[in-house]
Amino acid sequence: MSSRSEIFGAIQALEKREIDHPGDFKSYKATQDVVGDFKNSLSIVGAICVDAENKQEAATRLSEIYPDLLRYTSHEVVSNGLDLEAVDVLEIDGMFGVAENGAIWLSDQFLPNRVAPFICQHLVIYVAKSEIVATLHEAYERLDGNYADFGLFLSGPSKTADIEQSLVIGAHGARSLTIILV
């Protein structure tokens, strides 16, 4: 007998128990100020947040934050066939943000490739202020029917506290994360 049928056999041999799924969870109260909450979460998770009126303003601010580093957009990476390991600052678009935890949904559709947001040294993500939802429940509502081949919630720069619980930013992934709110 294959292990598969052994496992299923063992499960089927159990007494049947009727327990319903409790249904979707409704969060208690929607926040009034999703953008404010989102910014607050970003500061907790160690991300830099930039309010920008337009691309021009964003670019100015970015050159202040990353003065000596070259910045590439997703498009440039793909069309120039860049070696991602060499990319200092990568600029990408996020689909939407989550106010309660500062996470941004990224997926295959928005990435030059899957490893990009992890392997670059610094990451910049553009999110529209109108695209912030309050909680993860609303986030999954939004993703309903949108099944990316690969997608992730990204919240803050890569970090670890594995040495004596002291927080170090930049474990394996990006050393810094800047969110541009447009």
Binding site: Y28, V115, E141, L143, G151, S155, A171
Partner: protein
């Protein structure tokens, strides 16, 4: 092997380190308290998570089947392993098919449970743990002492020395920032060169056939997205029905684990990237046995957040290695007897049954009750040391016979009042570091008799 009590005694000998260990983990628990209290729906979320898991376990066969079908449709290759041995063999056969000599692995408690590293190393495959904490303990030839903070038993001095030895960092440098950077550089090479990456799985979604992996470091993603072959290993209990259920679990997981709002990366893998091969190994290894037991089924709801470790006053003062199991702490103590009763008979007793664990558990596992049930089960199987079962029988006899009880107590008090040195010696573990209570002149019952 030392049992829990013996190993703890050794751990506690270093009083200062014990204080540090206790305080550091308490700090993690406090962070958890703080963020959980910011959510008015916290208790409702726990209830929801618990109900979803109850429902899933009651319909596990159906959800596993759905998951398998969807995952295969997504282009993932699905394997089934009934035990650790088979799991290890499956993983090894995939690796050898691709001629892999080295692989990168992110944290997976399942592979610890199956002792995969040992198995592969014997077969000549170099396994590189990429989680910083796991890499540290791997260098030191130890095992993780905590499922979320694998190196929490070590101080930065220890890590500095280990890195000096293995990575050539300057002797005496114990700066966490510096040491983390050294590990980053060291592991980048492995990420870029590895053919095969192994990751664990936090949640597998039946509805979509995708699985979710959560890390803070980004090591699971670095491995999985660079390697030609991605193998994800999971216990069959990691299943959840729907994608929307993820909202509930992801809200609870990081808040419970470290007091973070969410882990830095919560990656949803549905399909392999172009040119990549993606495998999932679904492992039973005793889980269906546990599923059949009413008292212990609940333990399969665990999402491995380690909140029960951090809150456990015993764990904090005895360290993870005292549990001599890949999963330590309260949850480990109720999982371990399912694997081997006689080797783990000490673990359900390594608790005061204070119940704090059950209170912090995001999926509301009745951990302390299960500890109690295991005690009954193990003693029924005759696994008590002889002295203990004799003294229990004696106790049972005394307490069911009021006359003898009064005699026994009376004698006990007499002995203590007139010859305290008889009981106050080191053969009595109570007395080693505590005084006995003063023996009163008379018991309450005899006082009461005279009062009338």
């Amino acid at each position: 092997m030392l049992n829990h009590a013996e190993a703890s005694e050794k751990f506690i000998e270093d009083a200062e380190r014990t204080t540090w260990h206790d305080e550091t983990l308490w700090f993690v628990r406090s962070k958890r308290d703080k963020v959980s209290k910011l959510l008015p729906e916290w208790e409702a979320l726990r209830e929801q998570a618990s109900s979803i898991k109850d429902h899933t376990l009651a319909n596990l066969g159906q959800y596993l089947e759905e998951f398998e079908t969807k995952a295969q449709k997504n282009g993932i290759i699905v394997h089934w392993a009934k035990d650790a041995q088979e799991h290890n063999e499956i993983v090894h056969s995939i690796i050898s098919k691709h001629g892999g000599k080295a692989l990168v692995k992110s944290k997976s408690m399942l592979t610890e449970e199956c002792h995969l590293n040992e198995f592969l190393t014997k077969k000549g495959v170099e396994v590189v743990d990429t989680d910083l904490g796991e890499r540290i303990v791997q260098f030191r030839n130890e095992v993780p002492s905590h499922i979320v903070l694998p190196a929490i038993h070590l101080k930065k001095e220890d890590v500095g020395e280990t890195f000096h030895e293995f990575l050539g960092t300057p002797k005496g440098n114990k700066d966490p920032q510096f040491l983390t950077e050294a590990a980053r550089q060291h592991l980048r090479g492995y990420f870029l060169g590895a053919n095969v990456a192994i990751t664990g799985v936090n949640f597998a979604v039946a509805e979509t056939g995708e699985f979710v992996v959560c890390t803070n470091e980004g090591n699971a993603d670095m491995g999985a997205h660079l390697a030609k072959v991605h193998i994800a290993c999971m216990g069959i209990e990691k299943m959840i029905p729907k994608r929307k259920d993820l909202g509930v679990f992801l809200r609870l997981l990081a808040r419970s684990a470290t007091g973070q709002l969410i882990t830095t990366y919560s990656s949803h893998f549905a399909k392999p990237r172009e040119g990549q091969e993606m495998h999932i190994v679904l492992v039973d290894n005793g889980r269906t046995r546990q599923l059949a037991r009413d008292e212990f089924r609940n333990s399969l709801k665990c999402i491995r957040c380690a909140a029960c470790f951090n809150t456990c006053p015993v764990y904090r003062r005895s360290g993870g290695h005292s549990y001599h199991q890949p999963v330590a702490g309260p949850i480990g103590s109720i999982l371990a007897p399912n694997f081997d009763k006689s080797a783990n008979v000490d673990l359900p007793f390594a608790s005061t049954l204070c119940g704090s664990c059950s209170n912090v558990c995001p999926v509301k596992i009745n951990i302390h009750e299960q500890l109690w049930f295991w005690r009954q089960d193990l003693m029924k199987e005759g696994l008590a040391p002889l002295g203990k079962s004799l003294s229990m029988k004696g106790m049972a006899f005394v307490f069911s016979n009021p006359t003898i009880f009064r005699m026994a107590g009376y004698m006990g008090r007499l002995v203590m009042r007139f010859a305290p040195f008889i009981v106050n010696n080191s053969f009595n573990p109570w007395f080693k570091q505590r005084e006995m209570p003063d023996a009163p002149k008379e018991s309450f019952q005899s006082w009461y008799k005279n009062r009338k």
